[in-house]
Symmetry: C2
Subunit: 178 residues, 2 copies
């Protein structure tokens, strides 16, 4: 199973404001920055309850029929969109990956700061595409949380865009398994 | 007066470990990454007491006769190197810039996470060159501290190196004055 991250963060490392707003992202959407191709390559998204609740708060459903796995030990509300495929799972990152791998899935999109950090800590992320937004917001929800050890990355490529976005792709060169 | 930042940070935004170690930097030095030219262009370095104490702890003096301004309200120890030019100043970032500008200096190198954040908050930084080291260390001394407002940056250029370092240059497009 390959687990990948594709996320935008400010130069000071935040993926959202404390109220979960992402108004600092450039106008337009991120599909011109390789997202469409990446999204098509994943079998499912994995995110935590807080990220999912933020997604629901948008009203519109942006995920089509891509399976969304919400990590939570409690029941979750379901979206109203009829095409939505949402499922709740609980367990360690390794248990989640094993469960989803047994379905024949090969590629997971790991999303949200807490979930990304948990999967990194478990050595389950192989690839990270981080797009830096040219702004400092000073406080917010961090992309990365505390880690008990160093995680070495290997730089694959960096692309910069007219919007000022700088996208770097890394592979995780230690702790990777699963 | 132009104030610039030239600093390396991990992908998770740390400039040093909690014990101030920077052992995660690649082997060799950073002079091949534009540092020599940048360093030659500055009239002086400005850093906080903690950064200065770390510098002193190295034993060797790496700054030659470049003036080093240490921001502190208390007396500071002096380096043993005879060529060292170290001076203590105290005051707000704006007062520091005014005092150094009156000497005919035109370009300051602002260094250290706390000092950089204070100068950014005061709208006194015009240029930032941030070199990302391909590692996550999980905890450490952050490059950026809390800011009371957004600071917009403008992307100038990004360069990537075989070592895996990715260096992005930004200008600060709001709050800049001084």
């Amino acid at each position: 199973m390959q687990c990948s991250v594709f996320i935008a963060a400010t130069i000071d490392g935040f993926i959202a404001r404390l109220n979960h707003d992402i108004d600092f992202l450039p106008e337009g959407d991120v599909e011109e920055h390789g997202f469409t191709e990446f999204y098509a390559s994943v079998d499912a998204l994995v995110m935590g309850r807080l990220s999912y609740e933020k997604v629901l708060s948008f009203g519109e459903w942006h995920y089509g029929s891509k399976p969304i796995i919400v990590l939570s030990s409690r029941d979750i509300p379901m979206p109203s969109a009829s095409e939505a495929r949402v499922e709740r799972l609980s367990g360690s990152p390794r248990e989640i990956v094993q469960a989803l791998s047994s379905r024949g899935w090969n590629h997971l999109y790991i999303d949200g700061g807490v979930t990304i950090t948990r999967f990194l800590e478990a050595g389950l992320i192989q690839r990270m595409i981080i797009t830096r937004v040219p702004v400092l917001i000073g406080t917010g929800i961090p992309l990365f949380g505390a880690l008990p050890r160093d995680i070495q990355l290997s730089h694959v490529a960096t692309r910069s865009y007219k919007s000022g976005l700088v996208q770097s792709e890394y592979t995780v060169t230690d702790g990777a398994s699963g």
